[in-house]
């Protein structure tokens, strides 16, 4: 083995040629060192930047913010950092994924390090710049996958409406909001009439087509702010925020008429469909969101008992059947 002591020249060479951006600025943000990596990516040769003001060289830099960062290193004699997650880039550098990257500029993590003299005073700031474009691309892919998963976990596969768990969560949120801040909401529960017969007569695929068609009509009828979900097999729920019973009844009645007026075409057959509907507006008796569901359900069954294809609101006169 031979004696090896790295010379200053060698260390200097490494700093210059390392595959990481390294540069040094003084208190006034004048450039004192600019390695090859910085020169290559900024298209600015070393001899042209030495002694120059960083912000004159790069007018796009967020000057006020970056000066404060530099100042913090001088004043607190400590490290400072920037991360791509908050600021994707400082320098508008090209990156090595121009085809597949999907980002405009190289994503960068920067570490600002104090350069001290023998007395321990900070005389300059050394900055290393890491290309984290790959990391950011993977992170973005991961985030997209997560949000798709989240959506999938909230959606009913057949109808595309909110699934029961998510719908109930949204109902609870709206219920809590009304309880805390006032205003009102109305809950509509609806159930397809004689759905079992549709399945038995026309097959389950026809039944699925009916469920999808009714779901489409739900989406067309209600507002963006209303929350529709598939509650059970052929039962649906819709939350109408800031809507009283009267207003909700008008929409529910329109939906009921639309559905029974337009039979569903499936495989050359017209399948007549109708719904029974129950409504309940936020009221003191419904001291939980579950009670509100129970009230609307009660009204729904009153619609069923009194002949189906109708809308009933809670409370109702049960002697009328």
């Amino acid at each position: 083995m031979f004696e090896f002591t790295p010379t200053k020249e060698l260390l200097g060479f490494i700093v210059d040629r390392i595959n990481v951006g390294v540069f040094i600025v003084d208190k006034d943000c004048k450039v004192l060192l600019w390695n090859q990596y910085m020169a290559n990516h900024s298209y600015k040769k070393q001899e042209l930047v030495y002694g120059q003001d960083l912000f004159t060289l790069f007018p796009d830099l967020p000057q006020k913010w970056f000066r404060k960062k530099i100042a913090s290193v001088f004043m607190l004699k400590s490290f400072a950092f920037t991360s791509w997650e908050q600021r994707p880039y400082l320098f508008k550098f090209p990156h090595n994924r121009p085809i597949t990257g999907g980002v405009e500029y190289m994503n960068q993590d920067l570490t600002l390090m104090p350069v001290k003299n023998d007395e321990g005073e900070v005389v300059a700031v050394s900055i290393t710049l890491l290309d984290v474009t790959d990391v950011s691309v993977y992170q973005t892919m991961l985030k997209e996958a997560m949000s798709k998963l989240e959506l999938a976990s909230q959606t009913d596969g057949l109808t595309g409406l909110n699934n029961r768990a998510h719908w109930e969560k949204r109902l609870l949120e709206e219920y809590n909001r009304v309880q805390r801040y006032g205003s009102t909401l109305t809950l509509i529960m609806l159930d397809l009439d004689h759905f079992k017969a549709v399945n038995d007569t026309h097959g389950h695929l026809a039944g699925d087509a009916v469920l999808r068609d009714v779901s489409n009509k739900l989406n067309e009828t209600f507002r963006e702010s209303d929350i529709a979900g598939r509650y059970g097999g052929e039962e649906f729920g819709v939350v109408l925020p800031a809507t009283d019973l009267q207003g909700a009844m008008i929409v529910a009645e329109r939906l009921r008429q639309q559905i029974c007026a337009a039979p569903i075409h499936y495989d050359g057959v017209d399948i007549p469909v109708s719904i029974s509907v129950g409504l309940s507006e936020y009221n003191p008796d419904a001291d939980t969101h579950e009670k509100l569901i129970a009230q609307a359900d009660e009204a729904l069954y009153q619609s069923k008992h009194s002949g189906r294809n109708k809308c009933t609101s809670y409370p109702f006169d049960s002697s009328v059947t």
């Binding site: 967020p62 004043m75 400590s78 908050q86």
Partner: protein
Amino acid sequence: MNDTVVLSNDQTDCLQEIVNVAMGQAGDSLARFLEVFINLSVPRIRLVEAEDLPQTLTEMVGHSGLISAVRQGFYTADDGNGLRGEAIVLFGDTSFKELADILAYEDDLDAQAESELLLDVTNVLNGACLSGIAEQIGTELAFTPPSVLGQHIAAKEVVTKDNLLWMQALLVEINYSLENRSFNCNLMMLMPEDAIEVLKFALDKLLEDFD
């Protein structure tokens, strides 16, 4: 409790003194940097068991409201000294706008700007306080980039017990608030068992020098 990590009375006194002095210096440089007067509590030093940490966090914050937490690693820059740990800073969900104002943020405070602000403030606080402590025991600290542990969560959710692979850690706790501003936060410096050994060694050396 494992006796080897427990600090002797002399060691505790010495560390308390060091931290007090460091806090004074940190408060001073922070005040100059942020141009606002900083109120610091007297630092509290103790050992915590891993399983008690979530509870300790809740007690430190002193309320069950939502907080944001940022962590940052530190280690000695000198060769092979072995002092290392993590600092966790807890921010109550108060007015971030005020902080943004202090740290010269130009943009509107969206979610990204908010987390950048948390990271920046954490870094500034840690840099000022921990470097001061290190300096007095004759070493210099380097820092890793800070990262967000969680935003708008309960204090007990900051750490998951199962992820703590240590038994006991030394906890130095400092509370900050800014004069005439609603901002306040808690800084906790945590060092695992092997780092405590290093620290005790450094404290003993200091104590010898005093004698």
